[in-house]
C-alpha cells in the first residue's frame, strides 16, 4: 500500500528501511515514519480492541488526538502510534483493553 509513483510528490524522503515486530510477525518500515504508517503499509487495520466491548479500532485522526490508534510499543501501553516514530527493532503489539492479549484487559501493563 505504499505509493510508488505519485504525479506530484517525487520523493517521500524516507530514512532507512528497518525491521520491527508486530505481534508475532516481522515487518519492514522506514525509521522515522509513524508506526501507524508502517503498519498501514503492511496492511494492518486493527490497532486495539476496546476494554468494555472488545470492539476493534484503527487509525482515525492521525494527529494524536483521538487515541483510537494506541498500542503496546516496547512494553509501554497506550502509545499513540500515529505520532510515534518507528525505530529499528521495535516491538509493537495489539492492545486489548489496557493490556496484552490473554492478560487482564482492565489492568494496565
Amino acid at each position: 500500500m505504499r505509493i510508488k509513483n505519485h504525479p506530484i510528490i517525487k520523493d517521500f524522503k524516507k530514512e532507512e528501511l528497518v525491521e520491527f515486530r508486530f505481534d508475532d510477525q516481522v515487518m519492514q518500515g522506514y525509521s522515522g515514519e509513524s508506526i501507524a504508517a508502517a503498519l498501514k503499509a503492511n496492511g494492518v487495520m486493527i490497532h486495539r480492541y476496546t476494554r468494555k466491548k472488545s470492539e476493534p479500532r484503527g487509525v482515525f485522526c492521525a494527529i494524536g488526538r483521538c487515541t483510537d490508534c494506541v498500542m503496546i510499543v516496547d512494553g509501554r501501553a497506550n502509545v499513540r502510534t500515529c505520532v510515534e516514530p518507528l525505530q529499528a527493532g521495535m516491538i509493537v503489539e495489539t492492545q486489548y483493553g489496557l493490556s496484552r492479549k490473554g492478560a487482564n484487559k482492565n489492568e494496565k501493563i
Partner: protein, 542 residues
C-alpha cells in the same frame, strides 16, 4: 471558568519573558512571526506538531488567489517558503510543544515532552487553526473510517495509500480536494456524498472529480457501515429537505475506507480559557476580535482559522495584521507606517473575502446568480459538472469555429482567483475589476496555444480546442495530474465532463514543461461531433 491547574505566576519558577509569543506555526502564526521578527522583535512560536507549517504541509494542490497571495503555487511550497523566511529572521520555532494554558496575565503553559514550562510575553497571538468535526453514525468506529486530515497525512506526508476503494463524506472544499488527492495517490474514489442538496465546495474542484467518473450524491447521508472487523461496505440513503432519510432509497457502495470531511471547528479553547469574549458562529465558539485581530483582552490576538474558518491566504494576512498592530503598540512602527501597512493588508483581505465563500455571505447559503448576474449552473451544484449548454451562457466561452485554437474557460463561480489572466502572454483572458470577477475570453483573442493557462489554472478549468485539427477531427487540450501519464500515441476513450465515455480518442501531444509545475497538458484527437463534450481521457478499451 478557571483552568484546572495552578496559576503559573504563583509558583516560583523562572519564567522567560518574550516580546511576542505565537501559538501555532501554521500560515497565520508564521506570517505573524515574520512580520514581527523583520522589525527586530523577539518572537517565539510554539507548535504541538513535529513539523511546522500547519495545514499547508499536507496541501499538494495549486492554490487560488492572485500573485500577491501566492496563487497557483502548491500549498506545501508556500509553507516551506514561510518557514525559510521565519528562520532567516531568527524566529525561534519550538516544535512538539503543546500550549495547554493561556492566561490573561499573558502567560502560557507549554507541555514539552513530559514537563510543563511557563513563558510570558507582552503580547500573545493565538493562531491554533482548526480541528476536524466528526459525525457519529452506526459503524463509525470501525477501522477504515478516517478523517480527511488523516488521509492527507497518510498519503501526502507518509506516502502510504489510505485505502483502495474510498467513499468521501462531505463535499466542501476539503472533501473535494482530499478526494482528488486520493485519486492521485492511486485510490479509487467511489463516490462523494453530502447531506446538503448542493455541493459545498467550489464547482471547479468538483468538476475535476466528476470528469474522471466520480459520482456525486447530494441530499444523501451515511446510513450505516457494514463489516466485521473493518469497513466492508457503506449504505447510503437519500434525505428529504429536513435531512430525514427517505426509506427505500438506500444504496450499497463497496468500500474499504470511508473518509470524513464534514467540517472544521476553530480551536478556540485556549482563548475561551483565558477569558476572551466569544461568540457563536455556525455552532462553534470564536473570539470576538476588532479589525486589528485583537480580542477583548489587552495584548491577546487571534489570527487565522482559530478566529473563523477561512483559507490560508486570509490566515497569512490576518497574522500580519495582528503582528503589525503589536509592532505599533510596542513602538516598533510609527502611526504612519502602521496605517500604510494596515490599509494594504485590509484591502487584500477584503479582496479575498468577496467571493461566494467570503465571510458575510455564509458558506452554505448559495447565491442564485453570479455577481455579474449569470444564473449559476445547476448540474454543477448537484452533480459536480457543467452541461455544455450551461457553459455556453458564460463569458469564458465564445461560440466560434475558426481554424485557430480556442481557449475555453469553464470557471463559472465567483472565486478569488486570477492566474489565468496573469499568465496569458497574449492577453486573451481578462479578470476585470477585482479577482472575484468571472474570467472572460477577449473577443479578439489571438491564442498562441502555449498551454500555460491550462496548467496554471488551480481549478483545472481551462481547455484548448481546435475544431480543424484534421479532416473530421478536432483536438482538445486538458490538464492531467494523475499517474500513469498517458504516452504520446496512446489510444483510449474520451470522457465528458460527467466522466461518461463519449467516443474514441488518441493522445497527440504530451506537454510536461517544467514551468507548468508538474501539471501535464495532454492533447487528444477526437471526432468533430464530440469536441464540445470531450474533456478527459482514459487509456485502453473498456
Amino acid at each position: 471558568m478557571k483552568p484546572n491547574m495552578d496559576y503559573p505566576g504563583k509558583a516560583l519558577i523562572k519564567m522567560k519573558r518574550y516580546e511576542l509569543i505565537i501559538i501555532g506555526a501554521g500560515p497565520a502564526g508564521l506570517s505573524a512571526a515574520i512580520e514581527a521578527a523583520a522589525e527586530g522583535m523577539e518572537v517565539i512560536v510554539f507548535d504541538e506538531n513535529q513539523k511546522p507549517g500547519g495545514q499547508l504541509f499536507k496541501q499538494i494542490h495549486k492554490f487560488f488567489g492572485s500573485k500577491q497571495h501566492r496563487a497557483r503555487e502548491r500549498g506545501f511550497k508556500i509553507g516551506e517558503d514561510l518557514l525559510k523566511k521565519a528562520e532567516d529572521y531568527g524566529v525561534e520555532v519550538k516544535l512538539n510543544s503543546t500550549v495547554i494554558g493561556l492566561f490573561d496575565s499573558k502567560t502560557v503553559s507549554v507541555k514539552i515532552a513530559d514537563s510543563i514550562e511557563h513563558y510570558s510575553a507582552y503580547n500573545i497571538i493565538v493562531a491554533a487553526g482548526a480541528s476536524e468535526k466528526m459525525i457519529p453514525f452506526p459503524g463509525w468506529t470501525l477501522p477504515g473510517v478516517i478523517g480527511a486530515g488523516a488521509a492527507q497525512t497518510m498519503m501526502n506526508i507518509e506516502g502510504v495509500k489510505p485505502g483502495e476503494d474510498v467513499l468521501m463524506v462531505g463535499s466542501g472544499n476539503v472533501g473535494l480536494v482530499v478526494g482528488y488527492q486520493l485519486i492521485q495517490a492511486g485510490s479509487n474514489l467511489k463516490a462523494v456524498i453530502d447531506a446538503s442538496e448542493k455541493i459545498g465546495g467550489y464547482g471547479v474542484h468538483a468538476a475535476k472529480l466528476a470528469r474522471t467518473g466520480v459520482p456525486f450524491y447530494t441530499s444523501h447521508t451515511l446510513k450505516e457501515l457494514k463489516g466485521e472487523t473493518e469497513v466492508e461496505k457503506a449504505i447510503i440513503t437519500e434525505v428529504d429537505e429536513n435531512w430525514q432519510p427517505i426509506s427505500g432509497s438506500e444504496k450499497e457502495i463497496k468500500v474499504d475506507t470511508v473518509c470524513l470531511a464534514v467540517g472544521l471547528s476553530p480551536m478556540s479553547k485556549l482563548l475561551e480559557m483565558a477569558g476572551c469574549q466569544m461568540k457563536s458562529e455556525a455552532g462553534d465558539l470564536i473570539p470576538i476580535c476588532d479589525q486589528y485581530s485583537k480580542t477583548s483582552l489587552e495584548g491577546i490576538y487571534a489570527a487565522g482559522d482559530v478566529a473563523g474558518i477561512e483559507e490560508a491566504s486570509a490566515a497569512m494576512v490576518e497574522g500580519r495584521i495582528a503582528a503589525a498592530s503589536i509592532l505599533k503598540e510596542l513602538s516598533y512602527l510609527d502611526q504612519a507606517e502602521f496605517e500604510a501597512r494596515f490599509s494594504a493588508y485590509k484591502a487584500s483581505l477584503e479582496e479575498l473575502r468577496q467571493g461566494m465563500f467570503g465571510i458575510g455571505e455564509g458558506s452554505w447559503d448559495y447565491p442564485q446568480k453570479s455577481r455579474e448576474g449569470y444564473p449559476l449552473a445547476k448540474t454543477l451544484l448537484k452533480k459536480g459538472y457543467l452541461k455544455a449548454e450551461e457553459l455556453k451562457k458564460f463569458p469564458g466561452f465564445i461560440d466560434k469555429k475558426s481554424s485557430e485554437v480556442i481557449p475555453i474557460i469553464e470557471c463559472t463561480q465567483n472565486i478569488p482567483c486570477d492566474p489565468c489572466q496573469d499568465i496569458c502572454p497574449k492577453d486573451c483572458i481578462k479578470v476585470e475589476g477585482d479577482i472575484v470577477t468571472l474570467p472572460e475570453l477577449d473577443e479578439n483573442f489571438e491564442c498562441s496555444a502555449c498551454e500555460l493557462c491550462v496548467a496554471a489554472c488551480p481549478g483545472q478549468a481551462l481547455f484548448l480546442v481546435n475544431h480543424n485539427y484534421s479532416n473530421n477531427y478536432s483536438s482538445v487540450s486538458f490538464p492531467y495530474e494523475f499517474f500513469p501519464l498517458p504516452e504520446l500515441g496512446s489510444r483510449g476513450k474520451a470522457l465528458d465532463r460527467a466522466g461518461k465515455v463519449v467516443g474514441e480518442a488518441e493522445i497527440i501531444k504530451v506537454n510536461q514543461a517544467k514551468i507548468n509545475d508538474k501539471t501535464a497538458v495532454l492533447t487528444m484527437k477526437v471526432k468533430d461531433a464530440i469536441v464540445d463534450q470531450a474533456r478527459f481521457f482514459k487509456e485502453g478499451d473498456f
